[in-house]
């Protein structure tokens, strides 16, 4: 009997939702399990790192890695799976673009640790103990993975073959991607396995978007009763749809919420946040700078809104500090 192709799953800095999406295949997961041989899946199966290390190089057909890379362990595992796999696939927004964890790039690592372990309201830490990568006690040493200075997307640390975008990718998208990857007719290396045009194309409210949209004030979802038929941007909500790849069947819009951009940009765009900024900025009606600024002030958090999932993959990647943060 021909050997079933080996498949691995691993998650880095992630919420786990991508692998839940795989599980959400429901009954279909049984077909998947029947077709492949899962050799590594920490959340579901009991294989250990040394089992992967023991495999010959390039013996895993496809490794699906989700989550951003933020620790030394995640980096090591990414390198390991890259070595052991023929195809390394970035599963979900975090590995594709850095994802929501990527917003940590707005803060220095040390300020994050300080906030969590010292300053947060319910913390009592009079000796100001901070986590360390190594700790020695009576001749015993324990180790923790080191927290990197910044968050990286998967392709910033290893070569990635394909991307399945989404936060999380829908089960349908995962299934379709798996079929493509197993089909033997592989698209060009580096392809994002989703349509290469923006969400508006598959949005059910497309026809209600006016051709001459102008906005006096942007609104947040809790500030209005959102009309269930009308284009969300036309209602003043910050919908990232025009700058975001389609493929998710506009699930969020069906849920009466604006798109937040989790699929990332089309292949023709280098920086998703810059592009949505470019098209939203000009929607305000004002013509003089003070009024323009006032109207744009109704966008509460440009970085968080435009780069919610893509900050590490953006052109600037992280907030700049005037001097490199001091080494810990």
């Amino acid at each position: 009997m021909p050997e079933k192709p080996k498949v691995a799953f691993y998650w880095c800095a992630s919420c786990g939702g991508c692998e839940e999406a795989v599980v959400d295949l429901g009954d279909a997961i049984l077909d998947v399990v029947a077709a492949v041989d899962i050799v590594f899946w920490p959340v579901a199966l009991d294989f250990k790192r040394k089992d992967v290390e023991a495999l010959p190089d390039a013996s895993i057909a496809i490794s699906f890695v989700n989550g951003a890379v933020r620790t030394s362990e995640q980096l090591e595992m990414s390198h390991l799976l890259r070595r052991k796999s023929q195809l390394l696939v970035a599963l979900g927004s975090c590995s594709h673009l850095g994802g929501v964890p990527g917003l940590a790039n707005l803060f220095g690592r040390d300020s994050i640790l300080e906030e969590v372990y010292s300053l947060s309201p319910a913390t009592i830490n009079p000796e100001h103990r901070m986590p360390a990568a190594r700790y020695g006690d009576n001749g015993n040493t324990v180790e923790l993975p080191e927290l990197h200075q910044s968050v990286h997307s998967l392709n910033q640390v290893v070569d990635v073959d394909y991307y399945i975008p989404g936060c999380p990718p829908t089960p349908k998208m995962f299934q379709a991607a798996l079929q493509t990857l197993m089909s033997g007719q592989l698209p060009p290396r580096g392809t994002v396995l989703a349509p290469d045009h923006a969400l508006c194309d598959e949005c059910p409210r497309k026809d209600s978007k006016p051709q001459d949209l102008t906005i006096a004030e942007f609104k947040r979802p809790q500030q209005l009763l959102i009309d269930e038929q009308k284009c969300l941007l036309a209602q003043g909500l910050l919908c990232m749809g025009p700058a975001t790849r389609a493929g998710c069947e506009a699930l969020c819009i069906h849920g009466n919420m604006p798109c937040t951009g989790c699929h990332g940009p089309t292949s023709r765009v280098k920086d998703q946040g810059a592009k949505i900024l470019s098209s939203l900025a000009i929607l305000v009606e004002a013509r003089e700078e003070p009024e323009i600024i006032k109207m744009q002030a109704s966008i509460p958090d440009p970085v968080g809104t435009f780069y919610r999932y893509s900050l590490p993959a953006s052109l600037l990647r992280k907030r700049r500090f005037a001097e490199a943060p001091p080494a810990r």
């Binding site: 290469d196 045009h197 923006a198 969400l199 508006c200 194309d201 497309k206 978007k209 006016p210 051709q211 001459d212 949209l213 102008t214 749809g241 025009p242 700058a243 389609a246 940009p265 089309t266 023709r268 765009v269 280098k270 592009k275 949505i276 470019s278 098209s279 000009i282």
Partner: protein
């Protein structure tokens, strides 16, 4: 590597780089040899040369030969501004069989060698720019210029001497001309002059025949009392809206008998007469001046009683009798015309001397502007040609002050070019008519034209006094009984070396020329730029004085800068000739920098639709995608930047090309 950045097609790039010395203009600052060597080792560069004058025939031949010998498929020329010679080098490529848009120019003269002193820094900057150009040019694609047809009709805006001459030239060449003039008559400022320098030709005598010809020329549609309100389209294909203001006179029925004026309920005029610069008064119904073209009266609705109260006896209609030419119901008429080229000849206004209060204009009754004196001198003016003071008496002494408002850091910096000559002319005419002592106060005597210096000599012989010094003030305070009742002009006589007080009966201010009050609105209407002083901007101060940066729009006369009548006429002829060149070539080529939507990539998000001011971007309801009309697109690229999914491309300014240029200039660590 070139392959990584998507070099188009199967070709590998074979780039030729050409560094121009431009004599010593570039070579004296930039190390051109080092630059050529540097370029030669860049990836993809097959040939790298430096030469004294790339734009010359041998220079261009260098490129053309290399394209052949080395099978070059991309060219970079580092020389002067592309605004000067991009067309030149594009033609070279074309002659050598290469698409002209496979060229990238680098500006190392205007932007580098002429503006930096540090040679090392300049050479380094040139290297960065050349490197960026080489990277960018890999991505250039062959492009074709669009050809559009030219509507042979022409619009001339402004009916002064320049507009008249341009219109006549074009009409005589068989083209249909629309001449739009704001005032009720054509003639402009020249119609207000009495004699013209240096020949002392009577202005009306040389102007009115031309005006009459305009009025009766079969190829000229004269729309007086009209203004252009909207201009749309592009070269060869302009759609213009003209507002024809109501004269309340039916132009086809009025025979110019002027009986309505005599019969008007106003026994005498109460409104300052514009043509006589306020020196006389006119009635609400009036003829601007006796030789007006069209020879039709006009009713001024702001002063006519019928419009104010609706209860006038309308004796004018009575006098008009069965000609029935008066029609109080007229309204603005908006005409839409289609034309191919436009000549803007909207002229100038004079400096308002109230801005220099030390000259006493409007404070002392006998201080006049030159234009007012022109009207006094003129036989059909308010005083029938008599030069008199406000009380009717003849002046015994007259002071003419040059450079009022001009050559002055507080008002206008420029020299208005014509004032010295017209001041000499007025000096002559005043002396001749009144026998008064005439004093001209000047800074420099500017008499450069044909016969001008000779005219000045003549004046010197006629006994006119010349004082070289800028007048400090005109006042009526006297220091000596002999100054009683006179205006005292104080000026330093710089040649003699002391300050003079010269009492005169009449002061004439030689006011300078300025752009018209509404020059900014007019130039925006026609999409022209202005110089910092407000004159309409020519495409090149030396080589293209009558064309503008908007193709198909030309300028002529004083609206481009102060000038006398011969120069205005010359420019008008030049503008007409350039318009004719366009028209007779039947088609014109437009730069292909247009944008296009890649239909497969467009998601129909409609972000681009409202962005285009020319409505070139529309939404196709059936396909649910955006579409750009290539003919309407002017190539600004604003929609390209707006597209959130990167689905619009601009020819020659594609995202990737610009990224290469950006990353190229920064690549050197």
């Amino acid at each position: 590597m070139p392959e990584d950045i998507g070099f188009s097609g199967q070709e590998t790039p074979r780039v030729g780089v050409y560094i121009c010395h431009c004599g010593t203009n570039i070579a004296a600052v930039i190390d051109v040899k080092a630059l050529a060597d540097y370029a030669g080792q860049l990836p993809g560069v097959v040939v790298s040369r430096e030469y004294k004058y790339m734009c010359s025939d041998p220079g261009q031949a260098l490129i053309e030969t290399d394209i052949d010998d080395h099978e070059l498929n991309r060219i970079v020329v580092a020389s002067c501004s592309p605004l000067l010679h991009e067309p030149t080098f594009r033609r070279s490529l074309n002659r050598a069989g290469l698409n002209p848009f496979l060229l990238q120019m680098v500006n190392i003269r205007e932007h580098v060698s002429w503006v930096h002193l540090d040679k090392r820094a300049a050479t380094e900057k040139a290297q960065d720019l050349v490197r960026a150009a080489v990277r960018r040019v890999f991505l250039h694609k062959p492009l074709e210029k669009r050809r559009v047809s030219i509507n042979p009709n022409v619009l001339v805006v402004g009916g002064g001497i320049a507009g008249i001459h341009a219109a006549l030239t074009l009409a005589d060449a068989g083209k249909q001309v629309y001449l739009v003039e704001r005032e009720p008559t054509i003639g402009g400022h020249m119609a207000q002059f009495d004699k013209t320098f240096p020949t002392l030709d009577c202005a009306a005598c040389i102007l009115t025949p031309k005006m009459t010809t305009v009025g009766s020329h079969p190829n000229i549609r004269l729309w007086s009392y009209s203004e252009v309100t909207k201009v749309e389209g592009y070269v060869g294909n302009y759609k213009v809206q003209v507002k024809r203001k109501p004269r309340y006179i039916n132009e086809d029925l009025c025979i110019g008998c002027q009986e309505c004026i005599t019969a008007c309920v106003y026994k005498e005029g109460k409104t300052p007469d514009e043509f006589n610069v306020g020196l006389s008064k006119r009635k609400p119904v009036y003829l601007p001046f006796p030789q007006a073209v069209p020879q039709k009266v006009v009713i001024d609705r702001d002063t006519c009683i019928e419009f104010k109260s609706g209860k006038c006896k309308k004796t004018c209609i009575e006098a008009c009798g069965d000609r029935l030419a008066i029609d109080f119901t007229q309204k603005d008429i908006f005409e839409e015309i289609e034309i191919g080229t436009i000549i803007v000849a909207t002229g100038f206004q004079t400096f308002a001397p109230e801005r220099n209060p030390f000259y006493g204009y409007k404070r002392y009754p006998n201080v006049y502007t030159s234009l007012e004196v022109e009207r006094l001198v003129n036989a059909s003016g308010p005083t029938a040609g008599e030069i008199v003071l406000r009380d009717g008496s003849k002046p015994g002494s007259v002071g003419i002050i040059h450079c009022v408002g001009s050559r002055d850091i507080n008002t206008n910096r420029w020299c208005s070019k014509v004032c010295c000559m017209y001041s000499l002319k007025l000096a002559h005419l005043i002396k001749e008519r009144t026998g008064a002592e005439v004093f001209n106060f000047y800074i420099d005597m500017r008499t450069p034209g044909k016969g001008y210096e000779e005219f000045y000599d003549r004046l010197l012989d006629e006994g006119v006094h010349f004082v070289r010094g800028r007048v400090a003030e005109v006042s009526d305070w006297t220091a000596h009984p002999s100054e009683q009742g006179k205006l005292v002009i104080r000026a330093e006589d710089t040649l003699a070396g002391f300050v003079r007080r010269i009492p005169v009966d009449m002061v004439v201010l030689a006011v300078g020329l300025e752009p018209q009050k509404d020059a900014q609105q007019v130039r925006r209407l026609f999409n022209m730029s202005c110089s910092s002083e407000g004159w309409f901007l020519e495409r090149h101060p030396k080589l293209a004085p009558v064309s503008t940066f908007t193709e198909g729009v030309f300028i002529a006369g004083a609206c481009q800068g102060p000038k006398d009548i011969p120069d205005s006429v010359a420019q008008a002829g030049a503008a007409a000739a350039e318009a004719l060149a366009l028209i007779d070539s039947k088609t014109v080529e437009l730069e292909p920098y247009t944008a296009s939507v890649i239909e497969d990539e467009c998601s129909g998000c409609k972000s681009c639709i409202p962005v285009c001011p020319y409505q070139a971007v529309t939404f196709l309801e059936h396909e649910k995608k955006a579409h750009i009309n290539e003919v309407l697109c002017k190539g600004c690229g604003t929609c390209v930047a707006s597209c959130p999914s990167g689905s619009i491309r601009q020819n020659f300014f594609e995202d990737q090309e610009i990224f290469e240029e950006i990353e190229g200039v920064l690549a050197h660590a």
